[in-house]
């Protein structure tokens, strides 16, 4: 009897440890990027930063997108973001004081694992924390209050624009960050909603195809490089969490809250999978 228990315990240990040993983030990354290299052999790696416009078969969308980029409408929002960034708080400090290097060329490391709070932190969270630190009102109620959310998106867009062209580099070396990464990965691969789609269904297997006739599906590689982005449908800059919410709605799943932890983890997973791509945010998207 004792032996059987011992045997089962050993089995249990194996069952618990072996999956983690097979898929560490670095191997996942290699497989993920190799998947797209095989699927779209003609698309150069850096082009994935331009989202769906890089994919073969979307030439008509690309043509439209290039025209938009002559004078992209997000410049209006970006200018508002710049004003917010430059405007001093009541205590005379600005947003730049809260960030390393004055906020320049650091966005490629976002979102990051914070050892002190044991949480994943996004740029939006850090900007809000900066407001709190300096005794200013934060952007709150981001689910319902579109005005506050768009303002935060404009500010984040300017923050990302300061790091334009920097290549994404996410650190997932600590055990805590790997745990968050695994959670994001689980969200990415699990099916949800009435349509029973996972993120991977649309943005890996069906990437490069048109969903329902008028919704071109982007490749997962390079998803996060352009956000906060302005969609033609929305006509304003929005955060990546808002996009996740609408994505969930499109497969008829109940969207989570803006800024919820699982979205942060998903963002960490997605961004890590796009490692090495240059940031292009803010940008126009379909």
């Amino acid at each position: 009897m004792k032996k059987i228990f011992l045997f089962m315990a050993v089995l249990g240990v194996f069952a618990a440890t072996s999956p983690a040993a097979i898929s560490d983030p670095a191997t996942d990354l290699k497989n993920f990027q190799a998947f797209f290299k095989k699927k779209f052999p003609t698309v150069p790696f850096d082009e994935y930063s331009n989202g769906l416009y890089a994919l073969p078969g979307f030439e008509a969308y690309k043509e439209q997108w290039t025209m938009y980029n002559e004078f992209p409408p997000f410049e209006l929002g970006l200018a508002i973001g710049e004003k917010m960034w430059e405007k001093p708080f009541k205590n005379g400090k600005t947003y730049a004081s809260c960030f390393k290097n004055g906020g320049k060329n650091i966005a490629q490391g976002y979102p990051y694992w914070d050892e002190a709070t044991q949480k994943v932190r996004t740029a939006e969270m850090d900007l809000n924390a900066c407001l709190k630190k300096n005794g200013e009102p934060e952007f709150t109620d981001l689910d319902k209050n579109q005005g506050a959310r768009v303002k935060l998106a404009q500010l984040t867009a300017y923050f990302y624009s300061l790091s334009k062209g920097q290549r994404i580099k996410i650190d997932v070396s600590s055990p805590g960050s790997v745990k968050a990464y695994e959670e994001g990965k689980k969200f990415w691969w699990s099916r949800r909603g009435q349509l029973n789609f996972s993120c991977a269904n649309c943005h890996m297997e069906l990437a490069g195809k048109n969903f329902g006739g008028n919704q071109p599906l982007s490749a997962a590689l390079g998803h996060t490089t352009a956000w906060p982005a302005q969609r033609l449908e929305w006509g304003r800059l929005e955060t990546i969490h808002q996009r996740y919410k609408t994505c969930n709605k499109q497969v008829r799943a109940k969207p989570l809250k803006h800024g919820s932890e699982i979205y942060n983890h998903l963002q960490l997973y997605e961004t890590y999978m796009s490692s090495g791509l240059p940031l292009t945010a803010p940008a126009m998207r379909n």
């Binding site: 002559e70 409408p73 209006l76």
Partner: protein, 106 residues
């Protein structure tokens, strides 16, 4: 009347023809939309006139209406505009707000 709305202008010269693009942040309300919260009609608020001045002389004048979209992008073509010339755009809307922006043709 002063305005909080942005006006941006950009020019590009190609084979003697200058493409001018103007982007204005403007709600362009038609007056037909209902506010989802208050259930009341949103009063009309749209750009009525936009004019372009080359070195102080009016070269193009447009009458816009509610048919133009929110945050409109207006494009015109100018023939024979010399590099270094000053181009100014002004607009005014039905509420008396107006804005302008100046650029040098390159």
């Amino acid at each position: 009347m002063a305005t909080d709305k942005q006006t941006k202008i950009r020019t590009k010269t190609h084979d003697g023809v200058t493409d001018v693009l103007v982007l204005v942040s403007h709600p362009m309300e038609t007056g037909l939309r209902t506010d989802p919260k208050t259930k009341e009609k949103v009063p009309p608020h749209f750009i009525q006139k936009m004019s372009f001045f080359l070195n102080g002389k009016e070269v193009v004048s447009t009458d816009l209406s509610t048919a133009v979209s929110k945050d409109p992008l207006i494009g015109i073509k100018l023939k024979g505009a010399k590099p270094g010339a000053k181009l100014k755009v002004t607009w005014s809307d039905n509420k008396g707000e107006s804005g302008s922006e100046e650029t040098t043709i390159n």
